[in-house]
Symmetry: C2
Subunit: 562 residues, 2 copies
Amino acid sequence: MADPKNILFIMCDQLRWDYLSCYGHPNLDTPAIDSLATRGVLFNRAYCQSPVCGASRMSFYTGRYVNSHGASWNFVPLRIGEQTIGDYLRPRGIRTALVGKTHMRADYAGMARLGIDLQSNEGVFASECGFEPYERDDGIHPSSNHDPFPKYNDYLRAHGFGGDNPWEDWANSAEGPNGELLSGWYLENSKLPARIPAEHSETAYITGRAIDFMKEAAEDPWCLHLSYIKPHWPYMAPAPYATMYKPEDTYPPVRSEKEKDNPQPVFGAFINQRVSQTMARDEVRNAVLPGYMGMIKQIDDEIGRLLNFMESKNLMDNTMIVFTSDHGDYLGDHWLGEKDLFHEPSVHIPLIVYDPSRKADKTRGTVCNELVEAIDLAPTFVAATGGYPQPHIFDGKALQPLLHGGEIKDWRSYVISEYDYAFMDPRIELQSAPQECWLRMVFDGRFKYIHCERYRPILFDLQNDPDELTDLGDDPAYEEERIRLEKLLFEWAMKPRQRVTVTDGLLEAVDVQRNISQAGILIGYYNADELANVSKEWDDKPTFAAFNPVWAKAQKKLKGEK
Amino acid sequence: MADPKNILFIMCDQLRWDYLSCYGHPNLDTPAIDSLATRGVLFNRAYCQSPVCGASRMSFYTGRYVNSHGASWNFVPLRIGEQTIGDYLRPRGIRTALVGKTHMRADYAGMARLGIDLQSNEGVFASECGFEPYERDDGIHPSSNHDPFPKYNDYLRAHGFGGDNPWEDWANSAEGPNGELLSGWYLENSKLPARIPAEHSETAYITGRAIDFMKEAAEDPWCLHLSYIKPHWPYMAPAPYATMYKPEDTYPPVRSEKEKDNPQPVFGAFINQRVSQTMARDEVRNAVLPGYMGMIKQIDDEIGRLLNFMESKNLMDNTMIVFTSDHGDYLGDHWLGEKDLFHEPSVHIPLIVYDPSRKADKTRGTVCNELVEAIDLAPTFVAATGGYPQPHIFDGKALQPLLHGGEIKDWRSYVISEYDYAFMDPRIELQSAPQECWLRMVFDGRFKYIHCERYRPILFDLQNDPDELTDLGDDPAYEEERIRLEKLLFEWAMKPRQRVTVTDGLLEAVDVQRNISQAGILIGYYNADELANVSKEWDDKPTFAAFNPVWAKAQKKLKGEK
């Protein structure tokens, strides 16, 4: 086992953390994903930085909070200049490619302003979130002008599944008893198999493209982001997966009537959304959930196929493998559909990291209960490949201390997640201005506090109320808790990482003020004697360089010390 | 008088707000600058966003808090992608140029990463803070490799002031009785005249270049940033200005022994700096202050010359003129030299705005006591020239409501200023890590609260203690005040403007969720009947578009309403 040469970064879309057997699902067996947990570390308390595709992914890719990178929802371009995983790995010779979804919108206005040629290498990387777009496919291709020409459609046509939009008509539709098309957009059809055979479904196709990439990359080091579209809606699985599970195989809905009784206004507005009203109905859950589980089961089978391929090429010995999801899915829990808010089904994510290096041997098969965040992956990849840690840019922390075991102190005492509902109908219901729609969660492992602009906070005590059914946000008994948690949010908000152009290391290594003086910029010297006196002190009395271990070592050597 | 066609944005460097006669200096007559106040509005409570050149200027130019743009000190490149005044004005045909200093460092690493050609127009603008560098001169040209080739040196040589570095040897040195060079870097020489005649000094040269620009620009609309280097150090004025003022013409030092008695640690560390120790000495003040006042007097004379030129070209009728400074100078007040902290001599800035338009007639010659910030200028320039207000990018607010008079409500209840002392010796003394050096001031017009990472806050009550000699930061009697002010800082910190790629206006005008549905992305529909029912509602029940005045107007028209 060597230090990782390659990185395989697998992401599912909208996969709940608790719908995997390694995370305890009683009726959904996922042996391939479980096998990664057996070989690596299963993180039991991992959180996404925003429970919505675009914002969450931009945090995964930049290693930065939404507060830092600014791409706060799905249609918000990642501003030009933000760096992503590829920007850190590529300069060190690591081919960094994408197969599947990023949901990244390019900042074309910014690129035009700066005269960046879209056809240049730099232009392509800047518009593809830093990845080489080996196969970009965001997975949503309705019959409209929204992203209408996936390569997958060409693939389907070449395999005999024709028409204007085989993605919609074959891969995401079922068939009625008389051969009529039943759209996968309608949730009542989620319990039916897609018209496409499993081997030509999106999940299988995307896996195949990952295998193509690995074959092509051969001996060169690489980082592959394999980003599955499923189990995101349209909730359609092909046979046999679509019919493998029954409604009684799913978790029962987690919700109580009490939640709807005078709810906190933002929570109430999200309950009022059509998608929430729909997903809260039992008939809908009973149609959707078997399909959802079927899609996950298929992903597991495909990951099994991929791992077999990697075994056969000896790639398991030199490839770090990460398995995660961008966020979860309420599936009717708490009377909500989709994601967006901060209950566990939405904001808690699965995260498994397999590190092939010997250093990770003592943690294999263990469960880690430390609080970790999606933003920890980018620094983990940089650390795995020996790069500079970028503490001035990354809000996240490399996971290697947790992967390599040993004593862990001061890891992290809380996680943060954010949501900007400016783009959502609740903004209209609440008549909030676009700048007033920030929700921010701080979770310390027990208490989950959600700060809501314009409204009272939401608070859950997960120790006494693991299902998050009792909102303590206005309970006078918890005033001190709320003040304590708001202080954590304040601490966090006061440390945005926007000074991205100067490293902490430079500050620690360079004696800034002395350098300024030595360049002839003399600040505060009355006369030449004062300068002479200060100059004499410079060698004996390092100031900034005192924190620089390289300098300290050199000084010791100079003095004959060891 | 027409709406402004041009903008003249004059900035001094390190000019204290109270060293001008229009701001009440009893012994320093500045009639030209005062004449702008007579014709425009004098802002009596204007604050810079960071009391240090680079960070303050990046806030002026971007219209954003340091917290937003990230260039937190002098040597921090403004990250590629941040937009500045020129980026907003140039696309609308306004030539936006620089004469003098910006202190901007270009993000060459970012430009290289994005493949931006340094020689292209876009590359030049990106590396010159969005300005056309008609004459870039940051004003610090010691005999070292720091910015060694100003065009001003060529000018001096052409006028017979020769040598390797005439900036240092002529413009910023004096002469001893035996003809020996007395360096302007040494403060004891600040009371002597520079070797250069006034007409060839930096202040005169830079003014001349501004006049050159106006002649060249002719009838085309322009925005000129005329950015004087003085009265920044080296504190050297030419004759006759150097000897116009005596120590007794200056304000006496504002300080008390009590301040040095167990000071708040950050304040204490700044007092301990060499420059502070030096500037606190009377002999130093007595040498420096006459020179400082002489430099200001010369600036006023040169602005008089410029205004006469503009009068002769009828430019006063169509040019908005702003006069301000990037920050102040302690000059020994509070036992400090330089700037950096948040006492009034450092963070309070002069600000005068002359708006030629008729709308501003009723405010001419008035004093405005509203709290205003340096970041208000960029949006003011955009508004003056009819641009889109950019509320998703600008932290500042256009000043036109204050310039045009009438009822003002909800202007602003506090101002913010920030300082990152990671680059300063106090970081070493306090052994702080580079991310732990943030100081943040909130001032509500009476109480000034300074939040200091790792240390207790500093608090002044300017109503009872206008000289800021009593730090109430640990006075138990002010606990409630501190909590209230920290809540304001929290409110501010939770609203960073990083979602810069989508306008608020778009969000208000577009029905995001309906558009998504109409593009065929159907979220949460159980069957076709549900979609049909929702579709019927769409025309009658606008959601996002309800806030769009254009839409509302169209709807009214449709219904025959007025």
